[in-house]
Symmetry: C2
Subunit: 331 residues, 2 copies
């Protein structure tokens, strides 16, 4: 028994070594659960993420366009905002957003916290104001108590609101995908065909941009590097942030984690299916016309990137009071 | 020890007897969990309840207007539908809706199942069609498998869709409110002031309509029995169903369960606060001007009707496929 245990231990050490070396040489790393989450702050942030009182109408919440039932996205070309206004760009998934080098397609927000304040006050999205949402939440005793408990002093303002939302969003990672299990040494976690898709994904140069734990989201690149991308969408990418002409049509490389769930594709949402997206990316970025079989193989690999989705009880929101400013859905 | 156990048993029997007799004579009965729930059908119904692909836009789900984070309502005067159209009437809570004698404010649907088909195909609500939603769901393998497993044969149609949604809705009860605990013999579950509010609620005649487990929802009555209710809302109540002139302004009596959570009040949603609603109901239905203290006492009682809210993990929805008809949010 002692000998068996020793062998067992040796074996598990070997396994770990194999695992580490197996992904140390890969351009993609497994997703890890975030350390140092402030659980009570994240629990408050979860409520805020689902609370439509963060919008002028009282109808739209963060979850409306970053729906955690649907891969953290809305599965629409571009989003629906206040008064059914059509958003300018495809809503990026909130899943693994904490792994991004910056937020929004053009990277105009440095952090999750900075991003969270954007849609709340954007007239074509939630159409409220930073002051109004704080004024709304201040009238609700349970929120007052929870902010005090989380932040250690009384007070509700946009800084604390977005801080809590960002803390919740940090928890929205999707570890344990089949591909990650493969990276970690479980050779049976993906099929031979999926592995062939991954090899092709690497050998054809996709990993030049789609790398790291998020399989993207760690660099900016031009869309239409080899052939131009034709779109009627007005977004022009990072030029809006830098003012630099060279940044026209340069976007943050989107994460490919959970890509099976976050259709439609591209910043304009004009690409309906994953196979179309793969074929197009081959042409636009690599100047390569993948065969149907190649597209299928890469698509099969990409579907192995769907990880464990965050699961949690639907939050129950504290009711408004007589003092709460009324929503203005039609105002 | 044996003697103690015997006394203990005797005591618990006595308690039960007291409990039964305590609410047997009351006009309100405790909420009970429903028996005979088909759990796998309800689990499918939960997914459908949260699935925005039941709407033409791909953006609105049952939960949009019957938000289970907010007492099963949208907390708006009237709802927001497809293309931000303003709904004609206040969205009733889905909580305890299975206890209603019929569905909708005018009772035009006999069952939860019949109700569920309404908003899906209503052009000012979800704006889809019964055929389209079935066609959408049929293209999704996980749904196909789940319908087959639940119903014992392949096939997805509106009959099965609404059957599953209704099964989920049957589970949305809110037992264990402080008032129910009082009814069941826990004399400390409500305060003396709340009890005084209940006594006044009974003695002034509110229980003529607001009775039974749902504290309402078991009869139709005219709004403005003693003094007319002035509203610009076009809804005229049960006359739309019966064609009977006497049914003008006759509505289903709303449930008062969780009333603290389901503001604003009345069929037109024009009454913002519970205190206003109590004062107005006194005038309109009883011809009585409650004093501020009386209004406060009844309001305090009504807040004891908030029960345990349904809690469950946010459902994860299966992704669409290349065959799935595209949503048309702006079409």
């Amino acid at each position: 028994m002692k000998f068996k245990a020793f062998i067992g231990k040796l074996f598990s050490i070997t396994l770990v070594t194999v695992s580490l070396s197996s992904f140390a040489s890969e351009p993609i790393q497994p997703i890890e659960r975030p350390a140092d989450i402030d659980q009570s702050k994240a629990a408050l942030g979860m409520k805020l993420f689902f609370d439509p009182r963060l919008s002028k109408s009282g109808f739209l919440s963060c979850n409306s366009c970053h729906n955690l039932s649907m891969g953290g996205s809305d599965n629409l070309k571009t989003s629906i905002g206040h008064n059914w206004q059509q958003g300018p760009i495809n809503s990026p998934t909130v899943l693994n957003a904490g792994l991004s080098l910056a937020q929004f397609w053009d990277g105009r927000a440095a952090t999750l916290k900075e991003q969270a304040g954007g849609p709340i006050a954007n007239p074509v999205e939630m159409a409220s104001s930073h002051k109004l949402v704080a004024d709304v939440l201040k009238t609700i005793p349970q929120y007052r108590a929870e902010f005090q408990q989380v932040f250690g002093s009384p007070g509700i303002d946009i800084d604390r609101i977005t801080d809590a939302i960002a803390e919740f969003e940090k928890t929205l990672v999707t570890p344990n995908s089949r591909f990650d299990r493969w990276l970690l040494g479980d050779t049976k976690a993906i099929t031979a065909r999926e592995l062939a898709g991954y090899e092709l994904f690497k050998s054809s140069g996709c990993t030049a941009c789609h790398s790291g734990p998020a399989v993207g989201a760690n660099s900016y690149h031009k869309l239409g590097l080899v052939r131009p991308y034709k779109t009627e969408n007005a977004a022009r990418g990072r030029i809006a942030v830098t003012g630099n002409k060279a940044d026209e049509f340069v976007f943050k490389v989107p994460t490919l984690r959970n890509i099976e769930l976050t259709y439609p594709y591209f910043h304009d949402g004009e690409v309906a299916t994953l196979r179309e997206a793969v074929a197009l990316m081959g042409q636009l970025q690599l100047g390569r016309d993948f065969t149907a079989d190649e597209v299928d193989k890469i698509t099969a690999f990409l579907k192995t990137l769907t990880g464990d989705q965050p699961t949690f009880p639907l939050p129950l929101l504290p009711p408004s009071t007589e003092q709460t400013p009324q929503p203005e859905p039609f105002g």
